[in-house]
Structure formats: C-alpha cells, structure tokens
C-alpha cells in the first residue's frame, strides 16, 4: 500500500510535462472546467520546442516546421495569431558524396541517376507497405511479428542493390529518426511513416513536413497554451515520485521538486504523463512500476540528434543559386536547410547531426565543431565556414528529454508490448508525441496525443460522478 505523504495541493488532474502534449491535454481539460495542475521540470514550457534569441533572431533549437495535414498545429497557430511562412526553397541543393560536391534540383540527389531511381522505388515500396499498417494498432498488422523481427536495415538489404541508393535512404532515415536503419524495427518504421503520410512526405520541404515555419518560432504556441492555463502551470518542478494504488481507486499523488523549496506533493484523481517513454521510466513508482509500460519504454530509446545554427549577415548562398539545402553521406552534418528569418535580412543555416554521425560528434568535442564548419565551407563556399555565430543544441544532454527528435522502437517492442503504449495504468494516462496515431514524433502528434488523453480522463471523471 502506498505510504501516506503530506499533500500540498489537491486537484482533479495532474499533468506531468509542459510540452505540446501536456499543455494540449491540460488546456482541453481546463476548458471543460476540470481543475488541472501542470508540473513542468524546466523553467520554461515547450519541451522539445524551444525558441531562443540569438543575435537578435528567434531560432528554434528543437521542433520548428509545420506541414500540410497538420491541422491541429495550424489551428493553434491561427488561434494565437502566429503566422507561418514557407521554407526558402528557390535554387539548387548541394550533395556531398565521397567528398565530392554536386548540386541538384528537386527532391533527391540526381548525380547517380540509377541509384536515385533505386531509392525512389524503395521509398515507394516502404510508403505503400506503411499504408497497410494500422496506425492505432501496428501490432495488429498482418505479419506484425515478422515485420517487427526485421530491422529497416534488413529490409534495405533485400530491396536495395546499390550502395549509393542505400546511402541516400540512410541519410533520409537518419534525419527523420535520429537513428540508423540498423536500430529501427521495420514494423515501427512503417507505422511511423503511415502516421506522417510516408517517407516521401517526411523528407519534403514544399508539400511535406518541412514546408513552413512559424514567424517568431514554435515555442510561442506552447507559451500561448500555457498563458491560457495560467498559474496552474508550475515551472521548475520536476516530478520524482508517482504514487498510486492500483487495487483501490484512490487517485494518484506525485512528488516534485520545487525551486528553493524542497519538494511538494500534488494529489489528483487522475494523472497524465506527457513525457517521452524513457523519461517516465526514470521516475520512482510507488509501490511498483507500471510493469508493461515500463518494459515497453525500455525498448523505445530516444534518437540521437544535435541541431546546429550558423548565423551570417546575409543568406549569401541564395545569390549563388543555392537554396541552403545539403545532403551529405558523411557527417557531421547529414542535412541543412535555409533557416533565415522571414525578411531574409540575415542568413541562417540550420543543420542536423544525427544518428551515427551524432555519436561520433559527441565524442569528437571541439574537433567535431570544427568539422561542421569545414563541411559548411565545402558545401556553400568559404564564407559559410566563418559564421558570425554557431549555435549547437545537443538534445542527448537534456536531462528532461534524453535525445531526439523522437523515441523509436527496436525490433520486438511493438509486437510484444505495443498495447501498453497508451493503455492507462490505474489512474495514470499516457500522452506525448510517442503515443500519437497521427504525425507521431511531431508537434502535431503531441497535440493529438494530448487531446486523446484529455478525452480519456474526461470519460474517467464522468464515470465517477
């Protein structure tokens, strides 16, 4: 039985995590008159969405893009009066392959045309297979066990003859998941692609996941949701212990740190855990852990990604006929995009160091940072190697995130433990983009998961009265 702890605050629902998912759950509940408290570990809301001022610019250190069919995200932006603008795409992209620079137009590097055709065919095969995997229950896919016993790399062995095509696909996968094809369950990969409209959609700027950005950055949307919820959002309060007694319907008590004030305990009828799976697993659970959910979380590691911003006085690459996009077969950067402000008054390139390249980068220290600058120079000319500033955001160092952009599922995870992803455990409900069935891994998915968790909680509270 859970030991009694002194209670500092009682409410109907306590939400752990003030990212997009937690805030969307809390806001939906507050709008229905539910007494809700949000405990956020950091001294800001937004989680993996984090906009900071650097040299007078608002730069997104985490999630930043919005694309077609992300309707919740778009409505939220409309509601809060946050405008969007298209990613700059005019001009050619750069490919670095085997140390040689090529430029290309369109979606995919075309230098080695047969290899590119191989890659296009493979992406189509993956995307069509993905449509057969039900997003609400991937473990119910025909052949789920076999698909989950295979890695994406295994699938690539069977479907991609040319090493260049394999590289092209690996670069795309590295960027989307922050992981290597060897790490990803094929079942999970297909689920994820289905939820986001296909790999062909996830790698696209115009018409796809990287189509538009928010003027002033994505974190404004989290701030806007938090403002509506008001002082029931408590910052700087990392939860350490979750106590509930699954045998008796007597609510849940969470104990959190409070800045300068030791700890405090909040008691509620229901809790929504709106954190990445692995972060929920790091909590103390009293008297015992939510076993299956916890076991699943152990099989859902975070990806590995570091985001780099290079600032220049002008987006000079545009005058060279380039669109700021880079695709590279060797790191540190596997891709870049033009991240200049809407007026184009300053130049910004945003780059991703992901998966394998990111692990090497973390080991290399300063040499890794130097390698980024050299790579920018090789891709966009010597000026690119000398930015006014270079911002480096290492998501694996973040105590309350653990990596990024998203958690992935290793082979065997979803087919054996999948239903535990969303199944409530006693009074505990699960949100977070990892639990989404639409746009899993994205801001849109975070919003969807929060709304779904809020609906579950409302049902549960309604059944009580």
């Amino acid at each position: 039985m859970a030991a009694a702890v002194p209670i500092d605050r009682e409410c109907e629902v306590v939400v752990l995590g003030g990212g997009f998912s937690g805030l969307s759950a809390a806001r939906a509940l507050a709008r229905r008159g539910v007494d809700v408290v949000v405990l956020e570990a950091r001294d800001r809301v937004g989680g993996r969405s984090w906009t900071e001022s650097v040299g007078g610019l608002r730069l997104d250190r985490g999630g930043q893009w919005i694309g077609p069919t992300q309707t919740r995200l778009q409505s939220l932006a409309d509601e809060l009066g946050v405008a969007t603008f298209p990613t700059h795409t005019a001009g050619e992209a750069v490919e670095l392959r085997d140390g040689v620079r090529h430029t290309y137009a369109g979606l995919i590097p075309t230098f080695d045309a047969p290899a590119a055709a191989d890659a296009v065919e493979a992406i189509l095969d993956l995307d069509l297979a993905a449509l057969e995997v039900p997003t609400h229950a991937p473990w119910e896919a025909a052949d789920a066990g076999r698909l989950d016993g295979t890695t994406l790399a295994g699938w690539m062995d069977d479907h991609l003859g040319s090493p260049v095509a394999r590289d092209l696909l690996s670069v795309a996968v590295r960027g989307v998941f922050g992981a290597e094809p060897e790490e990803l369950s094929l079942l999970f990969t297909l689920f994820y692609l289905h939820a986001g409209g296909g790999l062909s959609n996830l790698v696209r700027t115009t018409g796809g996941a990287q189509e538009r950005r928010f003027v002033g950055g994505s974190q404004q949307l989290a701030n806007g949701m938090a403002d509506e919820i008001g002082d029931r959002v408590v910052l700087g309060s990392p939860v350490e212990v979750v106590r509930f007694d699954s045998d008796r319907d007597c609510g849940v008590t969470v104990t959190a740190r409070r800045p300068g004030d030791g700890s405090w305990s909040v008691r509620a009828e229901r809790a929504v855990l709106a954190v990445p799976p692995v972060i929920a697993s790091r909590l103390d659970w009293v008297p015992h852990r939510p076993a299956l959910r916890d076991q699943l979380a152990m099989r859902m590691p975070m990806g590995t990604v570091t985001k780099v911003h290079a600032l220049y006085d002008r987006p000079f690459w545009r005058h060279d006929g380039l669109n700021g996009q880079l695709v590279a077969d060797a790191g540190p950067l596997s891709s870049t995009f033009d991240d200049s402000p809407v007026d184009g008054g300053r130049g910004v390139l945003v780059g991703f160091v992901a998966g394998r390249d990111c692990r090497r980068f973390e080991r290399d220290g300063l040499a890794g940072v130097k390698a980024v600058l050299e790579q920018l120079g090789r891709a966009f000319g010597p000026r690119a190697a000398e930015p006014l500033e270079l911002g480096v955001q290492r998501w694996s160092e973040e105590a309350y995130t653990g990596g990024g952009p998203v958690a992935l599922a290793v082979p065997g995870a979803l087919s054996t433990l999948g239903p535990a992803l969303r199944e409530p455990v006693g009074p505990v409900h699960w949100a977070g983009t990892e639990t989404a069935t639409e746009w899993c891994g994205y801001l849109e998915g975070a919003l969807q998961s929060g709304e779904r968790a809020a609906a579950e909680v409302l049902d549960a509270l309604g059944a009580r009265s």
Binding site: G106, A117, G198, T206
Partner: protein
Amino acid sequence: MATAEELAEAFADWRERSNGNPRLKKMVRGWDRVIHFVLADGGEGFTMEVRDGQLSELVPGQVGTPDVVVTGSSEDFCDMFWGDLNPSEKYMSGEITLAGSQADVMRIDAISMVAFLDR
C-alpha cells in the same frame, strides 16, 4: 503552349521508354488505373490508362472516371514526357499537382521520377 500534336509526340516517346523499362514495369504491375491530364493553360486535356503493366496510348479528352488527376501546363507536360524536366521540381513548386488516393498519388509521383531518372 504546346499543341496537341506536340504533346502526343512527346508522350509517345515517354510511353515507349516507360513500357520498355523493367523497373517501371515492376512499379506499375497490378496497378490498373485511369489517369486524366488536365491542361492548366487551356485545351481539352487527355486520358491515359495503365493496364496489365503497360501505359496505353493517349486518348484526347477526359474519358472515364479518373483514379488520378494530373494538372499542369502543356509545356511542362511536354518537357516531362521528353525527359527534360525533373517532375519533382514541379511537384514541389506546385506547378504540377496530383490528385487521387494517397497510395495512387505516391505511386504516380514515384513513377514519374523514375521515368525521369532512368531515362
């Protein structure tokens, strides 16, 4: 604006190359569909059928119920059929649009890119 004859000539070239391309044959296997091409710059457009792994000849006008509707300028269609234009550039700029079920759109997108790359 390209004339109907120019379009037909370019398409005939595309069709011959496509029907002879083993990769494309594989990609349209079992995918029997009716495709309408709509000319954004006027003109009556045309219809193509994919049947038994082969592209049909172009039929003038919009015939039958389409599975996919491809809209673009006659010039872009000509360039695309001749293999001079990377269709993914035009999809990304929105100058050529594809409408249909998600799976059909994915497939025609990939097929047209492979036809360009594998020419």
